[in-house]
Subunit: 622 residues, 2 copies
C-alpha cells in the first residue's frame, strides 16, 4: 500500500447524446475520465445477411467532436454488448466478427488509451473472442483492453435462494484465467473487476491480488447513506478497496446517481483513497520497486558502491538487533567463563563501512567490557572509510584489516565472530562458505553472530512476475535462462498459494567432521483453491544470538526492517492447480570449488524438468 | 519398417574376469557389442563413512586392456546396481552420489558410446538420480544413457496370482515419462526396454513406439525351442520385434545360455531382423526421411525445381486415379447432356510438366471423346517442357498457356477443370483460393477435379518430433516460432493418441453467394490411456470425382501413393494426459488479401495459448 498518486475514477455512461457536453459534465463533477459506447446500438449493422445489411450513413459520431488529447486521455471505449463472436449461428458469428473488428479499428483510429468489454461465461464460450482479441494484441494494438469480470458469478446470486450446494457454479476467476491463458498473458490485457454486493471469501479476493487488476467497477447501488446523508461504502467494501489500493487500481463508477450530486461519490472515494496510504520506512524505501525484478547482489564477487552501503546502513532495525545480540553474547561469555575477561576479541568479517564495528563498540560500552575489534573488509574503498573512522574515532580498540576474510591469517583467536553476509534467501550470498573458512580463528567456545539461519520457500501466483520474467530478454542468452534465475523483488501483485516453509538450515560455527553445504530438500504444499503456480517466493529467518532474530519471512518479519526484499524463483511453465492438489517441490543447493547454485524441480501435481542444471543459467561465484 | 542396416545385437555379461577374452568370445559368437559392469562390486567403496572407506588400490581394470576404438565401439558400461542416490539414509545417499559420479566420469574417460542403468520405480523414488543424470547430460556428456525399463511392472507379475484388480500397479511407462521429463527430454537419453514374458496390451506397446526406444533387452528365458532344437521366439514376441524394427532398435541378449552355442540366439535374431524389412515404393521413397522435419512447399510463391517434378511424377497411383476420374467425368457429362458433345474443353490449371495433360489425353482416348486441353502453368521453366511436349507429341489438341492461373483470361468456358494443388493438409497450398478464382471459366454444369477435399487432424505423442521441433533453432527468429509452424514429416517414431477426425472441407466449384474460406472448427478426442500430447498430425482425403479418391488419412490411405507425407502441427508445451481425459482442439483457417494461415489452441484438458496469432510465425503466401 505504497500509492502516492491521486485517485483516478471514471464515470460510466450508458448513453452519450453529446460527447463534448457529457465529458464536460463528468470532469466538472471531478471524474478523471469517462467510459462510453464506441457505437450506438441503434447504428448496429450486419455484414453477412440480415435486416440492417448495407445500412447507409455514418457508423458513429465523428472523431472531430473531441480533440486528440481528450480522446487519448479521457475516454475508455465500450465494445457493443450485442457482439457474440462465439455464437453457434454462423451468420450471427460472422457478423459479430466484422462488427468487433470495426469497433477495435475505430478505437485504434481514435487513439483511445483503453477499451473495455464484458466477459460472460468461461473460456469454452469465449475462445473465438479470445482469439480475435489476442490477434489484435499481437499485432499493433496501442490500447489496453480491460476485461470486465464480475466478482461473483451472477448464476450464484440467482441460485442463492435455492439449493446452491448441489449446483457447481464456476468461479469467475476461471473465466479470466481461461481468457488470459488463451491470450498468452498479454501485458495489455487487464482486469476491470466488477465489485459485488456480497463479497466472496477473503481467500478468493486474495487470489485476485495475483492478477493484473487495473480497475474496480463500483455500481452506485453498493453505496449506503451515512448519518449526514452522504454516500459511503460498507466496512467490508472499504477493506476490499484498501487491499486493491496496493495495486494502484483505478475506479469506474457505474449506475444511476441517487444523491444530489454525482460528485459526492467521487468525494468519498477520494477520501477513502487518501486513507489507504501508508508511509512507513519500508514503504518509503520500496516505492517504485514494486514487482520490479532485480538480480541478486553478489557482494563476494563484486564490490558494493558507496550508495549501496549508505542505503543499507539506514535500516532502523538491523543494527539495533545486532547490538542487542552482541550485548547478550558478551554477558553470556562472561557468565559461562565465570570470571570476567580483561578483553574480548571480536572479529567483524565483511565490515563494510563499519556499522557492525559501531554496534560492537556500543555493546562493549553498555556491558562495560574491554574489547578489541578486528574489522576485516575486502573492498578497498570501504577499507578507506574504515581507516578514516579508526583514525578519527575508534583509536586502537579497532584494527582495520584490508583483506578478503578467506585469505586472512588472524593473529589471535576470537571470542565473537560477527558477520552480515546474508542474502534474501539466507545462504545465497555464501555466508556458509565464508564463515566455514573463517571459523578456524574462533575459540572453541566462541560465538558466531548470526549463529544460524534458515531459508523459507512458498508457492506464488503472480501474472505480473511471470510476465516480467518473460520480458527479461537478453539477446546473447538462451530465453530459458530467465526462468532459471532467481530475482530479488518487492512482491506486491501476488497471491500466496500456501504458507512458506523452512528449507535449508545452516549453523555456525559448524562442527561437523566433513563440512558439506550441499543440500537437498523436498517440500509439500497444499493447494486450497484453484489457482496458477508461477514460481516460489523465498525468504530467510536468522537467529543472531539467543532469541534475537532478523526475519523477512512474512509471519515473523522484523518490523520496519527494509534491508532485504524477498527472492523469487520462477518456473519455466506455469501450472494450473486445482483445489486439493499437492505441490511437491524439490530443491537443491549445490557447490563446487568455484560456485554455488540452486536447482529446483516440481514433481507434483505434474512433473517438470530440472531448473538450472549445473548452474547453467545462474551461479553465485565464490 | 524401412530398415536397411544389419542387426546390432549385444551380449550382456554379469561378470568379466578378463575383458579382452570376453570381448573376443562374444564377437566370435557374432555379437556386435557387449555390456559390462563398469566397476566390480567387490571394489565398491564408501566416501562418507562405512567399512570400505578409503579402500586402497585401483577402482577397476585399467583402460589399457582394450584399445580406444574397442572402448568406443564395442562396450556399453553398466552402472553399479548398489548405487541408490535417492536413499533416505543420508550417508548411503552421499556415498552413492560420489560412486555414481565416479562411474560416470570413468565412462567419459574410456570414451564409451553408451552406459546403461536400470530404473526401479517411479520418479518420486528417482528424482535425485534424474537430477544427477540430467546434470551430466547438460554438461559435456559424450555418451548415450540407456535407461533400462521393464515392459511390465515386476510388482504386477508378483501380484498376478492374488487380487490384482484391487491394487493399482504403476505402469512402467510412467517411470520413463517422469524420468525423461525431469531430464527435459535430453536427446542422449534413450530407452532400453526389457521385454517381458507376458506382453502388455497392444495399446500399451504402441505407446512405446512414440518414445526413443533404442534397444530391446531380450532375456534368454524368452526363447523357446523349435522342432529342430533351436532357440526361437513366440509369435507374439516376433510381432513385437517387427513393430520395433521400424525404430531401428538394437538388441541386448541377457541371461544364461541354454543351448550348445550362444551364437544360435544371434542367428535367429538376425534371421528375424532380415524378415522385418519391407521394401515397397513408399519405403524406398521415404528412406532416410523418417521423422525428418521439412517446411511445407509453397508452390504458389516459389517455382518448383525439375527434380521435384520428376519425383512426384513417379507416383504410381496419383495419375492413375486422376485418369480414372477424368474418364468418369467425361462419361457422366455425356450422359447428362444426353447428346455427345463434339469437343469437351478441359483446363489443367497448374499443369507443371504435363502429367495431368497426359492423363486427360489418355482419358479422352479411352472414352473416344474429342477434347481440347488448355495447359495453364505459371512456372516458365515448366512451360518450356510443356511447349516441347506440345510440339513433339500433343499437337493442337493442347494449348499451352504461360500464365498464372489467377491472372489468366480464358478464351472459352471449360467442361472440366483439373488441378493438383493439394498439400498434405488438403487446402494448405491454397487450392481453395486458386480454384475460386479460376471457376469463372467453368461452365455452369462444369466439373472440377478434385471436386472436394477434407483435412484430417489427430493428436500425437512423439518425443522424437518434440525434440526435433525444439532443435530447429533459427538465430534470427523467436524460439517459439518453431512451435507455431507446421512441418511435413514422414511420421514413424510416434503414437496416435486417438484417431484422426475430419476438420475443414472445401467443395469445387463453390457456388456460395459470398465465398468465405475462413474456417473455425472444434474437435474433441478421447484419451484411452495415460500419455503425452506433443502435437497433431494432419492428413487429407480428396474426392477427385464420384467415388475416385486420393487419401493420406491412415485408415483410407491410397495404397503405395507416396506424393504426400503427413503434416505435423506442434504445440508449445507438451501436455500430460490421463486416461479418460478429453482433448479439445480449436482450429482456425484464416485469410487476408495476401496470406492464408492456421491458428490453433487447446482448451482441454488444460487451457493453452493461441498458436500463430495473425500468422506471426507461419503464413502461406497468395
Amino acid at each position: 500500500m505504497t500509492n502516492q498518486r491521486p485517485i483516478s475514477c471514471g464515470l460510466d455512461l450508458c448513453s452519450v447524446p453529446d460527447l463534448s457536453n457529457c465529458l464536460f459534465a463528468a470532469t466538472s463533477s471531478r471524474f478523471e475520465f469517462i467510459c462510453i459506447p464506441l457505437v450506438h446500438p441503434l447504428f448496429k449493422r450486419e455484414f453477412i445477411s440480415g435486416v440492417v445489411k448495407n445500412r447507409p450513413g455514418p457508423l458513429t459520431r465523428p472523431d472531430l467532436v473531441l480533440c486528440t488529447s481528450d480522446w487519448n486521455n479521457l475516454i475508455i471505449g465500450k465494445i457493443s454488448s450485442h457482439i457474440k463472436v462465439d455464437a453457434k449461428d454462423l451468420n450471427y458469428r460472422k457478423n459479430s466478427e466484422e462488427t468487433l473488428n470495426q469497433e477495435l479499428s475505430l478505437a485504434s483510429h481514435l487513439g483511445l488509451a483503453g477499451i473495455t468489454l464484458k466477459l460472460i461465461g468461461g473460456i469454452e464460450k469465449n475462445i473465438n473472442l479470445a482469439r480475435i482479441i489476442n490477434d489484435k494484441l499481437s499485432a499493433t494494438c496501442n490500447f489496453q483492453i480491460w476485461v470486465q469480470i464480475p466478482m461473483e458469478n451472477p448464476l450464484k446470486q440467482a441460485l442463492s435462494y435455492r439449493e446452491e450446494e448441489n449446483i457447481m457454479v464456476e468461479n469467475t476467476w476461471e473465466w479470466w484465467n481461461g481468457f488470459r491463458t488463451v491470450c498468452d498473458y498479454d501485458k495489455k490485457l487487464a482486469i476491470a473487476l466488477i465489485v459485488s454486493h456480497d463479497l466472496p471469501e477473503s481467500e478468493e479476493i486474495d487470489r485476485w491480488l495475483g492478477e493484473p487488476v487495473r480497475c474496480l467497477i463500483l455500481p452506485t447501488t453498493l453505496f449506503i447513506t451515512n448519518k449526514k446523508g452522504y454516500p459511503v461504502l460498507s466496512k467490508a467494501h472499504q477493506i476490499l478497496i484498501k487491499k486493491f489500493a496496493m495495486l494502484e487500481v483505478q475506479f469506474i463508477l457505474t449506475g444511476a446517481n441517487r444523491y444530489s450530486s454525482i460528485t459526492l461519490y467521487h468525494n468519498y472515494l477520494d477520501y477513502l483513497w487518501k486513507n489507504c496510504q501508508i508511509d512507513g520506512p519500508v514503504e518509503r524505501f520500496a516505492r517504485g520497486y514494486e514487482d520490479y525484478l532485480q538480480c541478486p547482489l553478489q557482494p563476494l564477487m563484486d564490490n558494493l558502491e558507496s550508495q549501496t552501503y549508505e542505503i543499507f546502513e539506514k535500516d532502523p532495525i538491523k543494527y539495533t538487533q545486532y547490538q542487542a545480540a552482541i550485548v547478550q553474547a558478551i554477558i553470556n561469555i562472561n557468565l559461562k567463563r565465570e570470571t570476567k575477561l580483561d578483553k574480548l576479541i571480536i572479529m567483524v568479517v565483511g565490515a563494510g563501512r563499519g556499522p557492525l564495528v559501531r554496534a560492537a563498540l556500543n555493546a562493549a560500552k553498555l556491558t562495560n567490557q574491554e574489547i578489541k575489534v578486528y574489522a576485516v573488509e575486502k573492498n578497498p574503498n570501504a577499507v578507506n572509510t574504515l581507516q578514516a573512522l579508526q583514525g578519527d574515532m575508534w583509536g586502537d580498540k579497532v584494527s582495520v584489516v584490508s583483506c578478503d576474510m578467506r585469505d586472512w591469517c588472524a593473529p589471535e583467536q576470537a571470542d565473537i565472530l560477527i558477520s552480515e553476509l546474508l542474502g534474501s534467501f539466507g545462504d545465497n550470498e555464501l555466508s556458509p562458505e565464508c564463515l566455514d573458512g573463517v571459523q578456524r580463528f574462533l575459540k572453541d567456545d566462541g560465538i558466531s553472530i548470526p549463529c544460524s539461519y534458515t531459508s523459507y520457500i512458498g508457492p506464488v501466483q503472480s501474472s505480473k512476475l511471470y510476465n516480467e520474467v518473460r520480458q527479461c530478454k537478453d539477446k546473447d542468452k538462451h530465453p530459458l535462462v530467465n526462468f532459471e534465475t532467481p530475482y530479488v523483488v518487492h512482491l506486491q501483485n501476488k497471491y500466496d498459494i500456501a504458507k512458506p516453509q523452512p528449507l535449508f538450515k545452516f549453523k555456525h560455527p559448524n562442527k561437523d567432521e566433513i563440512i558439506d553445504n550441499n543440500r537437498y530438500e523436498v517440500k509439500t504444499f497444499d493447494v486450497e483453491q484453484d489457482s496458477i503456480l508461477h514460481g516460489f517466493s523465498g525468504y530467510f529467518k536468522a537467529i543472531l544470538y539467543d532469541n534475537i532474530t532478523l526475519s523477512i519471512e512474512p509471519s515473523t518479519h522484523s518490523p520496519e526492517m527494509f534491508s532485504w526484499f524477498p527472492i523469487f524463483f520462477p518456473i519455466k511453465e506455469s501450472i494450473q492447480l486445482k483445489k486439493g492438489n499437492k505441490i511437491v517441490l524439490h530443491f537443491w543447493r549445490r557447490c563446487n570449488a568455484k560456485n554455488v547454485w540452486y536447482e529446483w524441480c516440481i514433481s507434483e501435481p505434474i512433473i517438470g524438468s530440472i531448473h538450472n542444471p549445473n548452474g547453467r543459467s545462474y551461479t553465485i561465484g565464490l
